[in-house]
Symmetry: C2
DNA sequence: GCTTCAGTCATACGTTCGTTTGAATCATAC
DNA sequence: GTATGATTCAAACGAACGTATGACTGAAGC
């Protein structure tokens, strides 16, 4: 009985879900609307009806999950800072607040689904406008977490922070997007993708890397 | 006088050069053969004549630069190990030998051109067969450098190494592929892309991260 | 000087792409 | 029950895709 009725919300969400999964596995350019509507079992024209274009669909896919993730990030950082109002929080805790929301299976009732892997792809996805959407969505996040990191790590210059963030985001994105390559690099020794262990490892790796970015500033040559 | 004669080598290389640049900027799927032949100023059919297909062209683009890079990597590592035959080389030196060839402007007479950026993209590129080409090209490298890293870092388990390599490759790939995002993350403070500084930063970041992967191995619950 | 053959060229093939159209279908309100 | 507005549907659009074809070009071999 329930399956006979398919509301608009069903259709839009089914499109978004199918698109998210296919984009994460194949990338934006290599995924056709016919694949998406086929997997979502909706009519081809539904994409251009509910969204206006393929490009707008991509933006919708990103924004649906990116907003809640960023809210959660800020909430975690707020909690950290109000926990010890006087002193700066430990660097590991700041980094943890940045990465944790991406690893959470459920997020304020929002299933992440295939979004983490898609998020990993986005950062290296070609196309100026994808980068623009990403930059717009991350603007405030970079500012807040950058300030927190510099408070947690005295001596870290703005320039050092930029490099550290670049590498950290790369490490995260690569893990999230990584399919077979993890198993390959570790030669089968790594355990199956345990989210908690992965988050812990990532936090430790990037925190140590960030610390190594602060230098005594001897003139290099 | 020189421009009137265009040999086969000219044509094949012009295709490879144009393809490398376009692939690195747009990705494989989003780049059409007409774009490539247009930029290379050769006939459309030349691609399917000199290479058999678009897919084979991609493989050719990758292998042209990947081989020399890996040879150079092994040469640098050999030099390191024969330098101090008794003791293990410092971790930073091992990591340096792994990354340095990608950053070198000239490499055994081979111009790297747009390949570094393409290399950054490849790791997150969708498509099973791209991953297969990559894995095949990197097999020996992972083995040799993994062993060297474990000798440089006693206590680093195979599992730890797998995670560390995953994050390290991600950091490298993200920097190489990164276009505007570096300037964005650093809020305009970072200097222009200075290859030497970038390599130094990357080595410091990933070495510190790798060191943080070795743990006392208390059962994590 | 004729043959040979690797290379280049314009052109077209069949397919798939994103998008559009207009009719059919449905729930809701009166 | 009939009108209304939103949604779904099959079908088609023109454009762009990767690939294939066959004629043309030019230097090398004899």
């Amino acid at each position: 009985m329930t399956e006979a009725v398919e509301t608009v919300r069903d259709t839009k969400d089914r499109i978004l879900d199918a698109a998210e999964g296919l984009f994460s596995r194949q990338g934006f350019a290599a995924t056709s609307l016919r694949q998406i509507t086929g997997e979502a079992r909706v009519n081809l024209a539904a994409v251009n009806y509910h969204f206006q274009s393929k490009e707008a669909l991509i933006v919708a896919v990103i924004q649906r999950k990116m907003g809640p993730i960023n809210e959660r990030r800020l909430a975690l950082l707020d909690a950290l800072e109000s926990d010890l109002p006087e002193q700066a929080p430990e660097l590991e805790r700041v980094v943890w607040a940045l990465f944790r929301p991406v690893f959470e299976a459920r997020l304020l009732g929002v299933e992440l689904g295939n979004f983490p892997r898609l998020m990993g792809r986005m950062f290296t996805e070609p196309g100026d406008w994808v980068q623009r959407v990403l930059g717009q969505a991350l603007g405030g996040i970079v500012e807040r977490f950058g300030a927190a990191a510099r408070r947690a790590l005295p001596g870290l210059r703005q320039e050092d922070l930029g490099w550290g963030m670049l590498f950290s985001v790369g490490a995260m994105a690569h893990y999230l997007a990584g399919g077979e390559i993890l198993r390959f690099l570790s030669r089968g020794q790594s355990n199956e993708l345990d989210q908690e262990e992965a988050l812990d490892r990532l936090v430790r790796f990037t925190s140590a890397g960030l610390r190594a970015m602060v230098t005594g500033r001897e003139m290099s040559a």
